[in-house]
Amino acid sequence: MKTGKVVLDADGIDRSITRIAYEILERNKGVEDLVLVGIRAGGVSLAEKLREKILRIEEADVPVGILDITLYRDDLLTTNRKPQLGKTDIPFSLNNKKVVLVDDVLFTGRTIRAAMDALIDFGRPKLIQLAVLIDRGHRELPIRADFVGKNLPSSLWEEVSVNLTEANERDEVVIEDE
């Protein structure tokens, strides 16, 4: 049986996103050349929420792109399952931009490796930073996040799911025992 435990509620998530937004602005000294790229599917709504926060704090709108990393996965030809392909939509140049990659959960790091390869195919960013809501450990590649909402040590057989809604009030992060 699956048992779920809420580790972060809507208010907690909102505070984390607020802090990450401030950290992004602090580290990059404002919004100049800043763009956000959400990794499909979990990172898309998080990137959108970050954009809204930054808009409120700095009164500046940063461009948000969507990246689907399916075609860059390293397990495509070894697994029998074909993941559903989603659309990539980055309607602006990444050349000389400060790109903040956004994802909900950082786990093995393989998704981020794929995302960085994909980004490089779009141009030469000035730098790439990584923002995640949850870092659950168990890295298999030398990758770390620049901005983390919450470090959540987990065991491999647990499942961490981030449920973000447009209305915000039912947002939650749940850890489940398989």
């Binding site: 689907d68 075609l71 860059y72 495509l76 030809l77 070894t78 697994t79 029998n80 399952r81 074909k82 993941p83 559903q84 392909l85 989603g86 659309k87 990539t88 939509d89 390869d117 994909a118 195919d121 779009f122 141009g123």
Partner: protein
């Protein structure tokens, strides 16, 4: 989600769900062709063989570009420069190609059923790029993708397919696909170009262009295969174009927002007037663009 089949031989055997999966996947591939660097690493190390026993520009180039944009290695073989001219049989050619361990073989042949024979003999995936007057599944898929993109749906649309229905694999594949997806299909052409019992495929049959295109959403014009004129299926090109050429006058019978499609190559002034082929209703070049995405989707879904 995976396409649970080894080969793509025709539209006839595909389910609505499979067609939707292919079209949805293809939509995600459009973006890659708009990048500065038009390549993703997905099929690195895979080999795709284009085996063409009939002339082709669009389809062969489209498959080759699709394979290369996915980082697969594409090899082209055309019958006129291969061992076929030395008398090698189709099956021997295929077995030799199989021995070189490609992953996908794309095949065009003048004989209906040729790719079906090979599919039972070799373990690699086969995509039919046109077999005789039988099927041309990737053309129908890119046509359906283009219709869905422009009209937002296929179901309920009125589609007229005009021309040499009897000799057209494009017509046959589109009839299977469009009727499955819920479109109302009318076929039109001279009686000598209309196969007997075509109505059993669920289409309305007309012998007059004007009657066929009245109030339709889509007109698919087929190429008049000039090489078949010797078979006396029509008296002269001029007579054919008098009765069946889509032009600025008769197109007004269709809906105001009618879309005009053609699988190419077009014979300007024979089956379609130049001002229609190049005009605002024409989505002929969108078909070609989407063709690359459809073929990328099939290569992606059939490998791994």
């Amino acid at each position: 989600m995976k396409l649970a089949r080894k080969d793509i031989l025709g539209i006839k055997e595909l389910s609505v769900d499979e067609i939707n999966l292919i079209l949805d996947t293809a939509e995600s591939f459009i973006e890659i062709s708009t990048r500065d660097i038009k390549k993703v690493p997905t099929l690195r190390g895979k080999t795709v063989i284009n085996l063409f026993y009939e002339p082709s520009t669009r389809t062969r180039t489209s498959f080759e570009i699709a394979a290369k944009r996915l980082s697969a290695d594409a090899v082209n073989i055309s019958a006129s420069t291969s061992s076929v001219v030395k008398g090698e049989t189709l099956i021997d050619t295929a077995m030799n190609l199989e021995a070189m361990n490609p992953d996908i073989i794309i095949m065009r042949h003048s004989a209906a059923g040729a790719p079906h024979i090979l599919s039972g003999l070799i373990k690699q995936s086969i995509i039919n790029a046109g077999d005789g007057a039988h099927e041309h599944p990737t053309q129908a898929l890119l046509d359906m993708m283009t219709i869905r993109e422009k009209k937002g749906k296929i179901e309920g649309l009125k589609v007229a397919i005009v021309g040499d229905i009897a000799h057209s694999r494009v017509a046959r594949s589109n009839i299977y696909g469009l009727t499955k997806m819920g479109a109302n299909v009318t076929v039109a052409g001279p009686a000598t170009m209309m196969p007997r019992d075509i109505d059993k495929l669920g289409v309305r049959v007309c012998y007059h262009l004007e009657e066929a295109i009245k109030d339709v959403d889509i007109i698919m014009v087929l190429r008049i295969q000039l090489e078949r004129q010797e078979n006396n299926i029509f008296p002269s090109l001029r007579e054919y174009s008098n009765y069946y050429c889509l032009n600025a006058r008769n197109i007004t019978l269709a809906k105001d927002d009618v879309l005009v499609m053609h699988p190419g190559p077009i014979n300007r002034g024979v089956e379609i007037a130049p001002d229609i082929a190049d005009g605002s209703h024409s989505i002929i070049l969108d078909q070609v663009t989407n063709g690359v995405a459809i073929r990328m989707a099939l290569l992606y879904l059939l490998t791994g």
